[in-house]
């Protein structure tokens, strides 16, 4: 009896190995990509360039694994709504979903909305050796852990880079700013409205805190004081808001209070901004002469430090697995494929920065991008930390509270009064939502 089973297993393995060498020549022969063959999984996704990339390559995945993937993608707000409804109903029909762990990670984790990936990552029969967890940049990988559990796998690694107009800087005899004060001086010198604004950044209530967090940490502040109180009305936070508001109100465009990422991007693309501090992933777009008026005229530099040094803020969209799914094996196979080196490489070469070390050090890519951009982006990505959003269960709500305060200050209201009111509100929210320590 035992012999018969043994023969069967060996036979099955041989067949699987044979199949795999045919369909996946690049894959390790011993890993069974077909282990969930015949399953159908549903991906609830954010409509984005990475999702488009997966969709375009899905036939390849279906051929490799025999798993059918139904992709449902929506713009950000309908996506969040749909996801919240499905997860609160403990719906079994979602298997994999897009998530932003830096923003809603703690909220989702305490709600029990993330499946634990740790056992899968450590299981050689579930995880292909080629996928190689150690290829992920450590800082980025660890930003996806809560309570010792791996809750998601990053599909990008974004930091905020200083983009500046090299032509304008050269003409004015300026060097790229090495501190935030130098940035302010440069903005003053180059500000020439309405043709060029000195410095443009996000000001919308939902968007401002992310960019502003750079000032908060550069001035020695943080979201929470060491004794556990809201850190948003400390002297450091106030000086951070003051400089941010001064920069944007004096050297920004007239629409600063309403600026989201799209506006910041458009201003730079159209040549109307001398400097912006925003997503490192926009480099490809800025270099495209068909879409950009500043192709060949810009350079990238490190986000400048403030009086207390610098912390680079990390942002990543990621893939998570639903804990309510009963097709977790298939879901995990899809997640590995979607975040594999083969899938991420073309995106990285299109200047969408990926979380894999091997891609950042790829000599071919390195030779294609501008040296200043490369060095700044590389340095920042390796040490970036998830500080762009308040690290709490109620992160989205606190982000809005802080965002409204900054937004009001940008509209000319008293920064200190705004921050004090926001800190009070934040303390109330923390009291209600944070697990007692």
């Amino acid at each position: 009896m035992r012999g018969k089973w043994g023969m069967l297993v060996i036979g099955a393995l041989l067949v699987a190995a044979g199949v795999l060498t045919v369909v996946g020549p690049g894959q390790a022969a011993q890993f069974n990509w077909k282990q969930a063959q015949g399953t159908e999984i549903r991906l609830l996704a954010l409509r984005a360039w990475f999702t488009d990339h997966w969709k375009a390559n899905l036939p390849e995945f279906e051929k490799l694994t025999g798993i059918k993937v139904v992709v449902e993608d929506y713009p950000e707000d309908p996506f969040r709504q749909k996801l919240a409804v499905e997860m609160s109903a403990k719906s079994k029909s979602v298997d994999v979903f897009t998530t932003g762990t830096m923003r809603e990670g703690r909220q989702f984790f305490t709600s029990g909305w993330y499946g634990d990936l740790t056992p899968l990552v450590n299981d050689a029969s579930a995880t292909s050796a080629e996928w190689d967890r150690n290829d992920f940049i450590d800082a980025v990988w660890k930003a996806h852990q809560f309570g010792g559990k791996q809750v998601a796998v990053p599909v990008q690694a974004n930091v905020q880079l200083l983009y500046y107009r090299k032509d304008l800087f050269d003409a004015a005899g300026l060097k790229p700013p090495k501190t935030l004060d130098e940035l302010e001086a440069a903005a003053k010198k180059l500000h020439n409205p309405p043709s060029v604004y000195g410095f443009v950044a996000r000001g919308r209530k939902t968007q401002a805190p992310y960019t502003w967090s750079h000032w908060l940490y550069a001035d020695g502040g943080s979201w929470l004081t060491p004794d556990g109180k809201p850190g948003i009305n400390t002297p450091a936070a106030l000086s951070a808001v003051n400089q941010y508001v001064r920069l944007l109100r004096t050297y920004g465009d007239p629409g600063i209070t309403d600026n989201g990422p799209m506006e910041v991007q458009t201003h730079f693309l159209q040549g109307r901004a001398a400097m912006i501090l925003d997503a490192v992933s926009w480099a490809g777009l800025f270099s495209d002469p068909e879409k950009s008026k500043v192709a060949g005229k810009w350079e990238g530099a490190l986000a400048p430090p403030g009086s207390a040094g610098v912390t680079y803020e990390l942002w990543a969209w990621s893939l998570a697995m639903s804990p309510f799914s009963d097709k977790q094996k298939a879901a995990w196979l899809f997640m590995q494929w979607a975040t594999s080196k083969e899938m991420q490489k073309p995106l990285h070469f299109r200047s969408f920065p990926m979380p894999r070390k091997s891609l950042w050090t790829d000599p071919e890519w390195k030779s294609k991008v501008q040296p200043g951009y490369y060095e700044a982006a590389m340095t920042q990505v390796q040490s970036a930390r998830p500080i762009g959003h308040p690290p709490f269960v109620a992160s989205p709500e606190i982000t809005d509270v802080v965002g409204i305060a900054i937004n009001n200050a940008l509209a000319g209201k008293d920064a200190k009064a705004e921050l004090d009111a926001a800190a009070k509100k934040m303390a109330e929210i923390l009291e209600k939502t944070e697990p007692k320590r």
């Binding site: 209530k205 309403d258 804990p323 989205p396 809005d400 409204i404």
Partner: protein, 311 residues
């Protein structure tokens, strides 16, 4: 027929009339059975969600799989009415936005319908052009308007410069954001009011107008004494439609301002969205929805009384 059946074979009769009382009852009330599917359908898609929302508003729940909803009685409502500045702001913004835009839409819509209710060259073209905004996708239109309102390079800014007006910041300024959004809403929805009113005007009986003409009434008298009273029910119906839609406006505002700057354009509907789907306060959001429901109900009752009171 009945007598005949009872005289036949007993088994046959039993099959045809299993219970004479029940059969007669069904026959008498057969009309109720025809509407039953509709009743069940309505119960499932309308009554259930409303009752579920009302029920959920009595709990504190984050949707978490780790904790179950906690019964809090009416305390969500207590929070809504006592200590929530976000709610007060949202209620005010909603009433302001809805009130002003519906008033303008009804006024303009009736005027335009009056203009289009006569023969002139290019009438068909004019009507088609006017109806176009209604046919647009709100999200796409909102993106277009967002660009048009851009303070540095939008077309409105260019227009204002042309007229030597001081520079405006439109959506980026708390003082101008609501008027700007109202202008967008008026542009998109006035044609709907116009269309409904026009349909009403076309169907008005001509005898009154002939009588007025014979009596020598001025055009203004004809409009004010005949057209307005006759058309009022139609206009009120259009106003009701616009009111309900306007209170619930979401995509236009979310895409253009996300409720900003600050919370200057955060309507109740946007506030509920944030509470439910960004902050995961499902119980509190349900309480807000129940309040929103009564706001809509109250507004409609006012409009109904306008129609009944003077028609």
């Amino acid at each position: 027929m009945t007598a005949h059946a009872t005289r036949g074979a007993p088994g046959h009769a039993a099959r045809r009339r299993p219970a004479p009382g029940l059969g007669r009852w069904i026959e008498r009330h057969i009309s109720w059975f025809f509407v039953l599917p509709a009743v069940f359908f309505l119960a499932a898609v309308v009554a259930f969600p409303v009752l579920y929302t009302a029920g959920l508003s009595l709990f504190r729940w984050s949707g978490a799989a780790t904790t179950s909803p906690a019964w809090v009685g009416l305390s969500n409502y207590g929070d809504v009415f006592s200590g929530d500045p976000g709610f007060r702001n949202a209620l005010w913004v909603t009433l302001y936005f809805t009130g002003v835009s519906v008033l303008i839409e009804v006024g303009l819509g009736v005027g335009l319908a009056q203009l289009l209710n006569r023969e002139f060259i290019g009438k068909g073209v004019a009507r088609t052009l006017l109806i176009l905004p209604v046919a647009g996708t709100p999200v796409a239109l909102a993106l277009v308007w967002r660009h048009m309102y851009n303070p540095s390079n939008g077309i409105f800014t260019w227009f204002a410069e042309l007229l030597y007006l001081p520079p405006q910041r439109w959506l980026a300024d708390a003082n101008t954001v609501l008027p700007s959004l109202i202008l967008f809403d008026v542009w998109q929805w006035t044609p709907l009011v116009m269309l409904i009113t026009l349909a009403g005007l076309v169907s008005l009986p001509s005898d009154f107008y002939e009588a007025a003409q014979i009596d020598g009434a001025t055009p203004w008298q004809v409009f004010w004494r005949i057209t307005v009273p006759l058309i009022r029910p139609t206009v009120v119906a259009a106003a009701m439609l616009r009111f309900m839609d306007s209170v619930k406006t979401f995509d236009q505002i979310y895409v253009t301002t996300q409720g900003g700057p600050g919370i200057a354009s955060q309507t109740l509907n946007l506030y509920v969205f944030d509470q439910a789907f960004q902050y995961l306060h499902f119980g509190y959001a349900s309480a807000l929805l129940v309040v929103l429901f009564f706001v809509i109900l109250g507004g409609n009752l006012v409009l109904v009384s306008v129609r009944r009171g003077q028609a």
